[in-house]
């Protein structure tokens, strides 16, 4: 009986964890300032720049892919996956209100996609520059 109770409680905790997630939503600016506080620890931190972010976004960094390979050069428009051809929803919050509101999601996709484009994780400086760029693009 107690084993079933433990299982039930565990299940409830997991379910409420999943349900609570949307309540933890943040604004893009809150996410940017979280990135900023970790970028600041680097002595060479120069503040974030949308221009640098745009260059970073469109550069292939010596490999074959850039961010724009899938997201296109216009982050406010929808993108297209370079391998599967599937539509990717717009990245810019101005065009897609869901973007940059979930810190875990932002972390997850920076990690995956930086690995694919650069072959390494992005630095907080690079992430902040890109977010700054995404926040300036309009439809």
């Amino acid at each position: 009986m107690s084993r079933i109770n433990t299982l039930l409680i565990l299940l409830l905790v997991v379910m409420s964890g999943l349900a609570i997630q949307p309540a933890l939503a943040e604004t893009p600016n809150q996410i940017l300032s979280a990135v900023e506080s970790s970028a600041k620890t680097a002595p060479e931190f120069r503040g974030f720049s949308a221009t640098r972010g745009e260059q970073f976004f469109k550069s292939t960094h010596g490999n074959d892919w850039s961010c724009a390979s899938c997201h296109t050069e216009d982050p406010a428009g929808s993108g297209k996956h370079a391998k599967t051809n599937k539509v990717i929803k717009a990245l810019a919050p101005s065009a897609n209100a869901e973007r940059l509101t979930d810190p875990a999601k932002v972390e997850k996709w920076f990690k995956r996609n930086c690995n694919d484009v650069l072959g390494r994780v992005c630095t907080p400086q690079e992430k902040g520059d890109v977010i700054a760029y995404l926040l300036t693009t309009r439809k």
């Binding site: 050069e73 428009g77 370079a82 599967t84």
Partner: protein
Amino acid sequence: MSERIRVWDVPTRVFHWSLVLSFCGAFLTAESERYRDIHVMLGYTVLGLIAFRLLWGFFGTRYARFSSFLFTSREVVTYVSALVKGEAKHYVGHNPAGSVAIWLLLFLAISSGVTGVLLFQDSGGEVVEELHEVLSFAMLAVVLVHVAGVAVSSIMHRENLVRAMITGSKEARPEEGVERSHAWLGVIMLLVVATFWAGYSAVNAMAPDEAVSQAEHHDDDDD
């Protein structure tokens, strides 16, 4: 009196090793968008293989049938406690502990596959995304337990279970063997899988170039 008898028919073995290959491949290609098409292809393969296995669980030979490895929880407990003492009873087909892993693997393969398809069709939200990851890692965990169980059982009963899943045969009493190997069906399965992989890769090899050139040259006509 024991001699070499056939235990696993050919379709069961082809299913087993194709599933090993597809699941491991899908797991290894999960972290990169570069392999997304391969990941999806292998996920579909897992689902196709499981669909076959569900049918084969009713129409297959003796030890492939679900009825041969439907054990009660009491039988599982009895088997495991005997195993701990080193005196577990020998089963020609699945043993009760192994069958638990098989049922779990069937469930996890179906659920991780289905959540993957939902995600790929953009009809799943964040919860589905989380579920897909949790289910896939759970499946890997059960695979590892399954492999450990195979090792323990092989040592305990002095029979090479990995080899049995390759050759199909074990040492046992002649009347315990299955008569037919259904080799033709195994060949058809391999052909279907190979054709699917070749076809899927060919279609995908054509599509991406189109996507890249569109991204480069037609930035303005986004819909």
